[in-house]
C-alpha cells in the first residue's frame, strides 16, 4: 500500500495536531509525506495568494506540471490509438532532475524563476521490444536549444541529436517533444480570458507563429492546484484540432500529480493516453546520472 492511495482528508488531518489519535492509525509513510507536503507548500504557489496575471497563472501551472520536487521518477505508458483503432504501446522510465534546488531549505525559487531553470531528463524505453533499452537524454535549457542524446544499445552508440524539431511526435505518439519536457514560458503571449469557480482560463498566442503549427491554444487551469486539466489547440481559422485532457490526478508526496492524460488529434481521430505509474518525488537522483556513463550503463537502482 503506497502513500498515494490516501484520501485527501488524511493529508488535511495529518497536518493538524488535533488529529493525534487518528494519525496513529496512519502508516508511517503517510506521516512522512504529509510532513513533506507541509514543508513544501510554504514555497509553492498553491499555498500563496492566488496568481493575478496570466503570466503568474501559467508559471504556476508550468511548475506543477514540470518542476515539482527536486527530482522525480515515473513509469510511463503511452497507448497510441490510430483512426482505425489499432493500438501501439510505448513503455518507459522517465527520470527528471531539476538542476536548481527549487524546493526545500536549499533555496526557494519563484514560479517564474523555477520555470526558467535547467532540468535533465533520462528516458529509458522498455517496450516495444525493438526499442528496449534505447535511452534518450535531455539537458533542458529554457531560452536556448536543449542538448539531446540518444543511446542505441545494439550499436553501443551515443548519438547527439538535433533539438530543432520541438513540435514533432514523441516516439510516434500524439504528444510532442515539447509536451513532454515543457514549452518555454517566453514563447507565447497570454491573456487571462476568464476566472471561474474552478478555473483560470488562459489563451496563448505564439510570439513566433511560423515556428509552431497552432495559431493559439486555450488552457483550463484548476485554481486549487494549478493543474492544467484541459488544452485546446486552434488553427488559423479558429478551429480546434488538438486537445489535451487530464483523466486522473493523484496526490503524491503532497503534490498534485497528473497520472493519466490524453492527447487527441481531432483531424486524424488518433489519440494517445499516457499513464504515469509509480511516481516518486525527491528520490535523490545524482547529477551525474545524466551523463554518457549512465547512458551506456543504466542506473539499475532507478530504472527497470
Amino acid at each position: 500500500m503506497t502513500t498515494r492511495n490516501r484520501p485527501l482528508w488524511i493529508w488535511a488531518l495529518g497536518l493538524t495536531a488535533a488529529a493525534t489519535t487518528l494519525a496513529q492509525a496512519v502508516p508511517r509513510t503517510a506521516h512522512q509525506a504529509a510532513g513533506q507536503s507541509a514543508a513544501q507548500s510554504a514555497g509553492q504557489s498553491t499555498a500563496k495568494e492566488e496568481p493575478k496575471t496570466a503570466e503568474d497563472v501559467i508559471a504556476a501551472a508550468n511548475r506543477v506540471c514540470y518542476y515539482q520536487g527536486n527530482d522525480r521518477s515515473a513509469q510511463v505508458v503511452m497507448e497510441i490509438v490510430d483512426a482505425q483503432g489499432r493500438t501501439r504501446t510505448r513503455e518507459m522510465t522517465i527520470l527528471r532532475r531539476n538542476t536548481e534546488r527549487a524546493e526545500g531549505a536549499a533555496g526557494e525559487l519563484s514560479d517564474v524563476e523555477c520555470c526558467a531553470s535547467e532540468q535533465s531528463f533520462y528516458v529509458r524505453f522498455q517496450h516495444p521490444a525493438d526499442v528496449d533499452k534505447t535511452t534518450f537524454m535531455v539537458h533542458k535549457k529554457p531560452g536556448a536549444d536543449d542538448d539531446r542524446w540518444l543511446y542505441l544499445p545494439a550499436l553501443d552508440m551515443v548519438k547527439r541529436v538535433s533539438s530543432a524539431d520541438k513540435r514533432s511526435s514523441f516516439v510516434g505518439s500524439h504528444f510532442y517533444y515539447e509536451d513532454v519536457s515543457g514549452r518555454h514560458l517566453d514563447a507565447d503571449e497570454r491573456t487571462l480570458v476568464d476566472t471561474t469557480e474552478n478555473y483560470w482560463v488562459v489563451d496563448s498566442k505564439p510570439k513566433n507563429p511560423t515556428s509552431v503549427e497552432f495559431a493559439s491554444y486555450r488552457m483550463w487551469i484548476h485554481r486549487g492546484s494549478s493543474v492544467v486539466t484541459k488544452m485546446e489547440y486552434k488553427d488559423a481559422s479558429g478551429e480546434t484540432y488538438r486537445t489535451y485532457e487530464v483523466l486522473g490526478v493523484d496526490e503524491i508526496q503532497g503534490r498534485k500529480t497528473v497520472v493519466k492524460a490524453k492527447m487527441t488529434d481531432l483531424r486524424t481521430k488518433g489519440s494517445t493516453t499516457v499513464t504515469y505509474k509509480d511516481v516518486k518525488y525527491d528520490i535523490g537522483l545524482p547529477e551525474d546520472l545524466f551523463t554518457e556513463r549512465y547512458l551506456r550503463r543504466a542506473p539499475r537502482e532507478f530504472v527497470k
Binding site: T87, G172, G270
Partner: protein, 508 residues
C-alpha cells in the same frame, strides 16, 4: 480490478477479433470522466472541462459545468487503473503469448526472429545471384548477480548461402553468431568494468569511423543486414574511469579482432594481384594475427564536456582492421601493425549537431611509405553537420559530412608501386549525405545514405524503408547500390554486388 485490465490488454495485444477490440475501446471510453452537460464547443463556458478525478471541485455555479458523478471532493479515488499502482495495471505484456514466445517471455528472454532475403540486381560472374537468404533468431538474456550484471545475446542462423555451418565465433560465420557475453560491475564509485564479448563504439562518426577502431562487419552492411550488424563484437575488457577533470575509457583486446572484411565469399572485390575483380573464384587469403596477448590491441579515449562541447582524444595500438598489406612470399593479405591518434569535438550549432573528428593512422611497418606491400600512413578528417528540418517537414532530418583521407609519403608510394597495380590518389575526398523521414505516425521510416567520392569517381547509395506493422512486426525493404567509373576504387570495385533486400522481423 487490475487483473481484469490485464486480461483486457492482453486481449488487445493479441488483437484476436476486431469487433472485440472496438468493443473494448468503447468500454474504455466509457470509463473516462463524462463531459458535463452541454459540452458542444460554441460558448466558452460550455467548453470548460469538468474537473478530473483527484481535483475535486466545489459547488456548481451558474452555467459552469457541475462535477461529474463520482468526483466529489470527498471521493478523490481514481478511476480503474489508477487505484494502486500495481505493476500490471496497464498490462504491457510481451506480445504473442503462445508456445515458445510465451516461454521466452516467462524466462526474461528477449530477441527477435527475422527472415531476410536479397538478390543482386545484375549478374556477377564471381558470385551467386542471392545476396542474402537467412532466418535469424536472436536470443538475449540478462541477470543481476549481486553487484555484477551479466548479459548474453546470440544469434542462431539458418542460411543456405553458408559455405560452412560450423560456427566460427571470431568471424561470425556459421550458424551461431555470439554478439554479447559479458559481465559488468563497478568495483569503485568512479570505476566501471565490462569484460567479455561486447559491442564497442565511440567517436562522432557513424560512418565513416576514424578513431573508433573496433571491428566492423562490412559484409553485413553491404548485403543489407540491420544497421546494428555494422558493428562486430569485440572480446575485450573495457574500463571506464570517471572524474571531474575528465573521463577515461581503456579497452584491452587480448587477441586482435579484425573487421569482418570483404573476402570474396559473399561480396566480390578487386584483387590487385590478379589485376581483376574476383569473388568466390579467388577468395582473399589472409594471415591474421591470432596469438593471445602477443597480438593484442589497446584503445583509449579521454573525454569531457566543456561548455556544451563534447571533446575527446583517442589513441590506438594494434593492427589495421582490414587487410592493408601483402606478403609476397605466401601470397596472403596481411594486417600490418597500426597506431592511431586522434581527437574529436561535437557541439550544438544552429539547431543542429556539428562535429569534427581527426585522426592520424601511423602505419608502423611502413613509416617511410616506401614499402609497396604495406599501406602508407594516413591523416583522416571528418566534418559533419546534422539537423532536423521542421521548416520543411516534421520528423525530417538531414546530415552532411565531408571526409578526407590523405596518404602520407605519396611520392614514395608512387615510386615503389609495382607495375600493374592501380595508383591511388594522395587525397581521397568523400561527401556523405543522409536524410530520414518518419511517416504515418512514425510507423514508417524512410532513409537514404549516400557515400560519394568525387576523387575516386564512385558512389554508394543505401535507401531503406521500414514499416512497423504493430509493436511486434516490422517489414523492411532496402537496397545497396554501388557504382563507379573504375572497377578498382574503394566503392567502384563492388559494382556487381548491387542488391535489393527485404526483411520481416518479429520482436519479442
Amino acid at each position: 480490478m487490475p487483473m481484469t485490465i490485464v486480461t483486457r490488454t492482453r486481449l488487445l495485444s493479441l488483437a484476436v477479433a476486431p469487433a472485440l477490440v472496438s468493443g473494448l475501446m468503447r468500454e474504455a471510453a466509457a470509463q473516462e470522466p463524462p463531459l458535463p452537460p452541454g459540452l458542444g464547443g460554441e460558448s466558452k463556458k460550455q467548453s470548460e472541462p469538468s474537473l478530473p478525478p483527484g481535483l475535486g471541485g466545489t459547488s456548481r455555479l451558474g452555467d459552469e459545468p457541475g462535477l461529474p458523478p463520482g468526483l466529489e471532493p470527498s471521493e478523490p479515488s481514481l478511476p480503474p487503473g489508477l487505484d494502486g499502482g500495481s505493476e500490471d495495471v496497464i498490462g504491457v505484456e510481451t506480445v504473442g503469448q503462445t508456445g515458445l514466445l510465451s516461454f521466452a517471455a516467462d524466462h526474461g528472454i528477449k530477441g527477435f526472429l527475422e527472415g531476410r532475403f536479397g538478390t543482386r540486381t545484375q549478374r556477377d560472374p564471381h558470385e551467386r545471384t542471392a545476396s542474402i537468404a537467412e532466418m535469424r533468431l536472436r536470443l538475449e538474456a540478462e541477470r543481476q548477480a549481486g553487484s555484477v550484471f551479466l548479459r548474453g545475446a546470440t544469434d542462431l542462423i539458418v542460411d543456405p548461402l553458408f559455405d560452412s555451418w560450423a560456427p566460427d565465433l571470431e568471424s561470425g560465420q556459421g550458424f551461431v553468431d555470439l554478439r554479447e557475453a559479458y559481465a559488468s560491475f563497478s568495483p569503485l564509485p568512479w570505476l566501471d568494468v565490462k569484460a567479455g564479448r561486447q559491442v564497442l563504439t565511440w567517436g562522432t562518426g557513424d560512418l565513416p569511423f576514424i578513431n573508433d577502431l573496433f571491428p566492423k562487419d562490412w559484409v553485413s552492411f553491404f548485403v543489407g543486414r540491420d544497421d546494428e550488424y555494422l558493428k562486430a563484437p569485440s572480446d575485450a575488457i573495457r574500463v571506464g574511469i570517471f572524474s571531474d577533470v575528465a573521463n577515461v575509457d581503456l579497452v584491452y583486446t587480448p587477441r586482435f579482432d579484425a573487421d569482418r572484411f570483404i573476402r570474396g565469399d559473399r561480396i566480390s572485390y578487386y584483387n590487385p594481384l590478379l589485376g581483376r575483380p574476383a569473388g568466390r573464384d579467388a577468395p582473399l587469403q589472409t594471415d591474421q594475427p591470432d596469438e593471445w596477448i602477443d597480438d593484442s590491441e589497446w584503445s583509449a579515449r579521454i573525454y569531457r564536456n566543456v561548455g556544451g562541447y563534447e571533446l575527446a582524444a583517442y589513441g590506438y595500438l594494434g593492427y589495421w582492421k582490414s587487410p592493408s598489406g601483402f606478403d609476397p612470399l605466401s601470397g596472403q593479405a596481411r594486417f600490418p601493425r597500426l597506431a592511431a591518434y586522434g581527437a574529436s569535438a561535437r557541439t550544438q550549432l544552429a539547431g543542429g549537431i556539428a562535429s569534427l573528428e581527426v585522426g592520424y593512422y601511423d602505419s608502423r611497418e611502413d613509416e617511410g611509405g616506401d614499402d609497396p606491400f604495406v599501406d602508407n600512413s594516413q591523416t583522416r578528417v571528418l566534418v559533419g553537420f546534422e539537423r532536423d528540418l521542421p521548416e520543411i517537414a516534421h520528423s525530417f532530418s538531414v546530415g552532411a559530412q565531408y571526409y578526407l583521407e590523405a596518404m602520407s609519403n605519396h611520392d614514395e608510394y608512387e615510386r615503389t608501386l609495382p607495375n600493374g597495380i592501380p595508383l591511388r590518389d594522395e587525397y581521397r575526398h568523400v561527401i556523405i549525405l543522409r536524410a530520414s523521414k518518419l511517416l504515418l505516425e512514425q510507423r514508417m521510416r524512410a532513409s537514404i545514405f549516400t557515400y560519394t567520392s568525387p576523387s575516386d569517381r564512385d558512389t554508394y547509395i543505401k535507401p531503406n524503408v521500414s514499416y512497423t506493422i504493430d509493436d511486434s512486426w516490422t517489414l523492411t525493404v532496402g537496397a545497396n547500390i554501388f557504382a563507379g567509373a573504375d572497377d578498382y576504387t574503394f566503392i567502384g570495385q563492388f559494382g556487381p554486388n548491387t542488391n535489393v533486400f527485404a526483411a520481416l522481423r518479429l520482436s519479442f
